[in-house]
Subunit: 436 residues, 2 copies
């Protein structure tokens, strides 16, 4: 088949953004304990400039937004490939799967310059680029791909696809099933391995046999590891940030109230809410709040917000009480995610993360990792309370060829997105290694 | 007024229990990664032997249990005092307040042997003793008060009251308002200072002028500090475990999804659910899950449960999927709390914790703590991720007379309840100091 690789502008402003497109400082200003510095507007919903979704006049009107990208929405930088049926690890087949992806640079003659970038839970294919029609947020690693940058598109062919089960163009619960209706509650259980299998089919369709590097953080790191274990002969480098060889009990524990928050929302309707006029935004927002706290650190939140009241509000009052600034901050992130993400995808991807265990049916984690042939770089954030550095230590120790790198950050898990300078240096170094 | 101090049996078996009465190991067996060891029964709701609530035949039938103690329920070890109206820090008056309390030992002639024990969020007056009629759980510090134990009732007169706003006999949202109907959503906002004010009135009614020691952990530690700051001349010793001089942004952040989980439960009905036949157990259970994870540690959960499946269940399946063992464990704690606690009290007490700031209207934390005259002991748990040791360091540094003690535990915040030997030694030492 013939595939056109559209080259996008790679000169992007090096804005600092946090996980999955939320700005690191969220318009909440620099770290300060004064209420006015925390939220000058006093209206959290009014300051999310980065997520303006400017639909052109030709776009069909959306009924009720559920945050999912849909046929007819502006495509933005997306390209699409139908990869056919995907056989699922836990049985069954997901038919006629479509994968949305973006690319930067060009595939070289030797086909050995592919960098596959894997997004985290609520990320998507938009690794770099502006927000605009089709893209609710600017790129989530916006300084990663740039001429002269860590991944230079003059040299590398960068591919980022929306994950299987996602909501930004690839087949997921909000996509139409064969009967034309959204999958909803009928969407099957998918594992991280299924997601990697879909990406393998995508690369096959694009005529790409091997991957010079696969790089990802958090949930994206899970796929990166799975790539290196599942296709040891096809992956030259593997860069894993703030991730783990298998989801731990603590990570599974944190996911449980998030999953319940969505499922217990009456507007979730068992997952079949697309035909109605209500969305489980409350449940999704609740899940997001829990997750967001785990993405940050105790000290950063306290340094930044302390006990400040949200401007003009009084948190020491019952019932319709006002908020502490940190509560307004969480409200902001909750509302923001609900506007750009689909609750069913959140459930499907969270359960996929829970499934993550490179050792399953492979004789355990050690045995599975021993088969990796890629030159690996294992990176943790020193303050990460969700994916603590010990997990990266374990991963590093079990990999045949691995270097251990560290990100120093006040921001915890989100440091893998926020500390772009450090991440850029680490990825640049990893790509430099093993070159001819 | 005349008050009879009933002396209870103080010989209690030194069972190891976790926060607010939940057994440290929960019937989930010793730390092990085998599914059978994690939950032999496979039915989490069936193994909560410690919380058997054996109503006698004379007790009136309960309509729908909301976990609150109510008039007509077995009193257990409780005594009651009406303390009159309580003026609230944030305005208004809570009329005709009743406080439930338990005592061990006898007030001596000098009136200088009172040890006031302050319970945590979901605790109550039942510091020691068996579970049984009126007491859903055994004592939450069951080895603390015993002849020859850390607090010997032959020497000390121990008082523990249910906190204002609670649901175990003291006036709270489930109590009747002056119109005879439960307060529900009408229950006023109370602060930790209001709770201490109610305890001061209780002691006044009992003819007690001074406190030889006030001791509490977590939320109980907040009241202990407030006692020492508000009544500097009446408190000889103050022992604060796993607590903080003021609630931090991180703690407030963790509370937010818990409060929302309850309020977003349709069965919460804005707080006025008592007349109906449904209870916001789902929301309360969700809040409890979030809280419980913060009470434990990443490593302990992973050591104990790993990725084990709940026995007979398959967690790698969509929809009606089975559970990981750690999910079953959280389900167990969620269901258990819903059976013994009232959701409105959870909200009221959580907001009271958020209010905690000994420095408010006192020139800041440093200034407030400088007025303390008690001999203080400040204790943290090394692995506490909710009340990290730095908060105890700050408290200790600002107190005029303070010793710093440390609990070493794998269990995190719950270590202040689980590590009874260490806690007992620390409290015994603190009581020994400054004696004639």
């Amino acid at each position: 088949m013939t595939v056109t690789h559209r080259k996008q502008s790679t000169r992007v402003s090096p804005a600092r953004h946090a996980a999955d497109g939320s700005p690191a400082r969220d318009g909440f200003g620099p770290a300060t304990r004064t209420p006015s510095g925390v939220d000058p507007s006093g209206a959290p919903s009014g300051r999310a400039g980065a997520e303006a979704h400017v639909d052109g006049p030709a776009d069909p009107p959306r009924r009720v937004s559920d945050g999912a990208w849909r046929e007819g929405d502006p495509v933005g930088g997306r390209q699409f490939v139908h990869i056919g049926d995907v056989e699922l690890e836990r049985g069954g087949v997901l038919p006629d799967v479509r994968i949305a992806y973006e690319t930067w640079g060009r595939l070289n003659e030797a086909g050995d310059n592919v960098v596959l970038v894997e997004h985290a839970l609520t990320g998507d294919s938009h690794v770099v680029g502006e927000a605009g029609p089709g893209h609710a947020s600017p790129g989530w690693w916006n300084s990663l791909v740039a001429s002269g940058g860590p991944v230079d598109p003059d040299e590398w062919f960068v591919i980022a696809s929306n994950v299987l089960g996602g909501c930004q163009g690839s087949t997921g619960p909000s996509s139409p099933a064969p009967d034309g209706q959204p999958w909803g509650s009928r969407f099957p259980y998918v594992t991280v391995r299924d997601q990697v299998a879909a990406e393998r089919l995508l690369l096959d369709r694009l005529g790409i046999a091997r991957v010079a590097a696969v790089v990802g953080g958090s949930m994206g790191g899970m796929r990166a590891i799975e790539w290196a274990v599942t296709h040891p002969d096809d992956v030259d480098r593997c860069i894993v940030l703030a991730s783990t060889p298998s989801a731990t009990a603590d990570q599974i524990a944190w996911c449980q109230p998030q999953l319940l928050a969505i499922r217990q929302d009456p507007d979730f309707a068992g997952g079949d809410y697309y035909a109605g006029d209500r969305r489980p935004d409350a449940g999704l927002g609740l899940a997001r709040r829990i997750a967001h706290i785990t993405y940050r650190t105790e000290s950063e939140l306290d340094e930044r917000f302390g006990r400040a009241a949200q401007l003009g509000e009084d948190p020491l009052r019952a019932g319709d009480r006002g908020r502490f600034a940190v509560e307004s901050y969480l409200d902001h992130h909750a509302g923001k995610l609900a506007r750009r993400f689909d609750a069913n995808s959140y459930v499907v991807l969270t359960e996929a993360m829970n499934s993550h265990d490179v050792g399953r049916d492979r004789g355990g984690v050690q045995q599975a990792l021993s088969r990796v042939r890629a030159d690996c770089t294992v990176v943790s954030v020193d303050t990460d309370r969700l994916y603590p550095p010990r997990l990266s230590d374990d991963l590093h120790a079990a990999l045949p060829v691995s270097r251990r790198a560290h990100i120093v950050s006040d921001f915890g898990h989100d440091g893998f997105l926020i500390e772009e300078d450090q991440v850029g240096r680490i990825i640049r170094d990893a790509l430099e290694r093993g070159r001819g």
